[in-house]
Symmetry: C2
Subunit: 212 residues, 2 copies
């Protein structure tokens, strides 16, 4: 029933508009989900990692997003009809998945607030905070954050421009909050200040994400 799949960085797993009747669980690597609007804007709806779910989950449908491998990627693929059958016979799992979906709705509410009400610096702070959380390593002081995505990806995720993202990051550097080890690696020198800026709402983050 399940098929293993491998992709290289940059490969497209599925494309927006593709008729997709399949869903995936990420085993290894990271995925970027992006959506193009008719007026040519790209929105990064999310970044997924190991354990996360993506693809056509409800009835068969055209994919909302394009899914691209950001790193070497290992996936587990399921045919949706079979998966639906499976869920029919495992109602407990179905309920769990439903909970994951509602968590994602809440996460999107939060993201909407970020997009509509937060300043550029706050958005970037939230983003860095989320990255450091994901890394999981609570390196007491000065955690090192690896930023696997481009400035353009960050901008399209946070509703900013690459220039603004760049400017905010250099301001953070000048303020001594962070230090750079190359443009894709950051050392957080003042986590408290970052959390303060992020306006950290102490809601526990769901351990599993979902993408469409």
């Amino acid at each position: 029933m399940a098929i293993g799949l491998c992709f290289d960085a940059g490969d497209v797993v599925f494309e927006q508009g593709d008729e997709l009747d399949r869903l995936f669980v990420i085993t290894e690597g990271m995925v970027r989900l992006s959506h193009l609007t008719i007026d040519g804007n790209r929105q990064i709806t999310g970044f997924l990692g190991p354990g996360d779910l993506m693809g056509s989950i409800k009835r068969s449908a055209d994919a909302y997003c394009t899914a691209e491998a950001m790193t070497r990627l290992v996936l587990c693929s399921f045919e949706r009809p079979r998966f639906s059958d499976f869920l029919q016979h495992h109602p407990d799992l179905c309920l769990k998945l439903f909970a994951v979906a509602t968590d994602e709705i809440e996460a999107q509410y939060d993201h909407g607030i970020l997009l509509s009400r937060k300043h550029a610096a706050e958005r970037v702070a939230v983003f860095l905070h989320a990255l450091s959380q994901r890394a999981g390593q609570v390196n007491g002081e000065s955690p090192i954050i690896d930023i696997p995505m481009s400035r353009s990806d960050i901008a399209d995720h946070l509703g900013l421009t690459i220039e603004t993202v760049s400017r905010v990051l250099t301001r953070f550097k000048q303020q001594g909050m962070i230090e750079f080890r190359g443009p894709k690696t950051v050392v957080v020198k003042n986590m408290a200040a970052l959390d303060e800026l992020a306006g950290f709402e102490n809601r526990p983050k769901p351990r599993m994400a979902i993408g469409l």
Copy 2:
């Protein structure tokens, strides 16, 4: 199992942070869902109407939003544990609900794009478009839209200020796109122009919404 409930306009059904172990199906009337951030911003996460679902759907949790009746309101209330049991024994319904949840995720993706990339005029156009859709009456020409919510609600839903919402509406009026019959009733004189502005993506809208 199910209990009927009645509210007057302005009544609070449940409040953000309340421990909520109950979910509701709206029978009659409209509900406004709002979320307050720690920095004092209010975000209207959505407006719900007849047939829509809201409340604590996953595990018991503190409510994310405050739910207020915008009109006289009739609800059907369910205890979550019993509802979960019910779902356990009706996996087909569980799958349907899951589909509703994923529709909501998509809707939130779209809303995020609106909040991050669309101009004030486009946002208001999308909003008016959605209102006219909901009304359902495809009055060939010049549909009449009833706007049950305040400018403040609209602003907090679209990530704008009341002043900007007001300005955009008067601009629409000056351009001959709409006409006012009082501040809460609008006649659309040029639907094509409105759709154009809204950047109408021809995705079929889900018939059922969900709120947390």
